[in-house]
């Protein structure tokens, strides 16, 4: 297993991480529901979702959150180096019932470097809207 990690001395504030774009379809949501045990019907039923004023079925916030962190873990290699991770769910990710689903794009920028600990701001965009707010991960590169 090769989990090459960036060296602290080579990490700078303002540095951007390799971006990532993912696609969510209804199948992605069914799979995440089963894997996570979150069977809230707003994630699979248009009937329940629209009844609650949503545009239709929306992705689990935790799916978007978990998927967005890949930008960081792909970069650091070893996910055990994550110290904290927080997000605000600012806009729902509507997932249409078709073959294409919806695309979500993630990007990330280093905001602080203090000895081994690097803070990273993550941006998640779907349909030109930010779907995560104040998304931030802290990693310990020497862990």
């Amino acid at each position: 297993m090769s989990l090459a990690s960036p060296q602290t001395e080579h990490v700078e504030v303002g540095q951007t991480l390799p971006p990532l774009t993912v696609r969510f379809t209804r199948a992605t949501l069914v799979r995440y529901a089963g894997a996570s045990g979150d069977f809230n019907p707003i994630h699979f039923s248009d009937h329940f979702a629209t009844e609650l004023g949503l545009p239709g079925v929306i992705a689990h916030g935790m799916l978007t959150m978990g998927s967005a962190l890949r930008v960081v873990t792909d970069w650091i290699g070893d996910p055990a180096r994550i110290r904290s991770y927080s997000v605000r769910f600012s806009n729902p990710v509507a997932v249409p019932d078709n073959a294409d689903g919806v695309e979500v794009s993630y990007s990330a920028t280093v905001t602080t470097v203090e000895s081994n600990v690097v803070s990273i701001a993550i941006e998640a965009i779907c349909d030109r809207k930010k779907v995560l707010g104040a998304a931030r991960a802290e990693v310990d590169l020497e862990a």
Partner: protein, 140 residues
């Protein structure tokens, strides 16, 4: 009696022990489309947001508390913060304990700040999952 500010400080007993398995970790990582090798094989670590799976059992204690009158399909996740002391690994036997920190009622919305502590079987705190959950009450 719906949930109110008075429920701040309410906590629930630890959830039944949850055993983290390699199979469940792999299933969860695959659901995220994540091929990081750390999540596969015989001795994987769990993806950081896997803690949400363990925390969900604790959220369930709150969602089904008859005194709060919450309805799962009316709950949306406002924010989520995880703090890690160590990653969860296959073979860990953990429990999750939920405390309601704060409740704010704004019109038909009940904004619940909760904290879930996840301990392993030695009593070590592995991580904390703090969430703001927004429950929209049906108009009477």
């Amino acid at each position: 009696m719906p949930i109110s500010e008075a429920h701040a400080g309410r906590s629930y007993p630890p959830t039944p022990t949850y055993e983290v398995s390699a199979l469940k970790i792999a299933e969860f990582a695959a659901a995220l489309g994540d091929e990081n090798p750390a999540y596969y094989g015989d001795a994987p670590v769990a993806p950081p947001t896997f803690v949400g799976v363990v925390a969900a059992a604790a959220w369930e204690s709150m969602f089904t508390d008859p005194e709060l009158g919450l309805e799962l399909r009316r709950i949306v996740h406002g924010d989520q913060r995880f703090t890690y002391h160590r990653p969860l690994r296959a073979g860990d036997r953990v429990t999750a304990t939920l405390t309601i920190d704060k409740v704010r009622v704004r019109g038909g919305a009940e904004i619940i700040s909760s904290e879930v502590d996840v301990h392993d079987e030695t009593g070590e705190l592995t991580c904390t999952a703090a969430a703001t959950l927004v429950h929209t009450r049906e108009a009477a």
